[in-house]
Symmetry: C2
Subunit: 168 residues, 2 copies
């Protein structure tokens, strides 16, 4: 009686659960990336969205961004470089601190953020229609309980968790 439902033909292994979660994420992320591309914003990945969001939320220099994203400042700087190249953020010298380059999300960047958000919300609604709003809400509640609010890194699943540049 280790499992009262052993008659149902469904996955009960921990590994399958993990794959299911990953599959869920990828479904959403891939669909969103594709849709964003269709709307004219090529090659915007979750990482970019996430980074812009952090910048908009106050991480206005590369080092700070790295800290928020739990990533080295060098990695953050690289991401910033591509965002800048695409015109999604600007970098200008900080008049108050000669070391800093102040980051700001451009109107174009904000537009991308807005559309990304809308697309994710549409996808979520689709899911609501498929399993019902209550079921989805419950799922979210439980996941929140399980995952907690630890910061989530967006990079490749399976990288070793290491100490980062200048740890807190």
């Amino acid at each position: 009686m280790s499992n009262g439902r052993s008659l149902l033909p469904m996955s009960r292994s921990g590994a399958d659960l993990a794959l299911l979660l990953l599959g869920g994420f990828r479904s959403l992320a891939d669909a969103a990336t594709a849709e964003l591309a269709r709307r004219g914003h090529e090659d915007v990945r979750p990482v970019h969205d996430f980074a812009m969001r952090a910048i908009a939320a106050g991480a206005d220099n590369a080092s700070e961004l790295g800290r928020r994203l739990s990533v080295s400042k060098q990695a953050a700087a690289k991401t910033v470089a591509v965002l800048q190249e695409r015109g999604h953020v600007t970098r200008e010298a900080d008049p108050l601190d000669g070391r800093r380059k102040r980051l700001r999300v451009t109107p174009l960047g904000h537009e991308v953020l807005r559309q990304g958000e809308a697309i994710f919300d549409e996808l979520r609604e689709e899911w609501e229609q498929r399993i019902g709003p209550e079921a989805l809400a419950t799922l979210e509640t439980h996941l929140t309980t399980l995952v907690g609010s630890r910061p989530v890194r967006l990079d490749a699943p399976g990288l070793p968790l290491r100490d980062l540049d200048e740890p807190l």
Copy 2:
């Protein structure tokens, strides 16, 4: 009554849902990788586990492995190379087909698989204890409905989905 629970301070955005799913996966995967390392199997990532499982399940050459993992045969070959180097799989000439190198999971490889499975199952049990077995089962059922049984790729979330080597 668009949402009967609007008083609860929880996420209702599609992006948060995605992050929650990713967070769930990473929680499990990171914990499993760490625990596996603690048990003496350093640096075994989900990709390796997944690949070994496919090999054990019959993908006994690199090209076939690539197909099963939805990855180019070259990428599969690289993975095989590290598995071989670690003594988790062997590669020997196929006597029936001079082109093929037949892959086989070694006893050590099987041991890693076994332990990995056990660890994931333990993690799942932990989750069961935190939200209850029924809740977790429901969550799995719903997720299965939503993501279906499409093959899930384990690589970095956010890579563009492209046509692969020698498409089906």
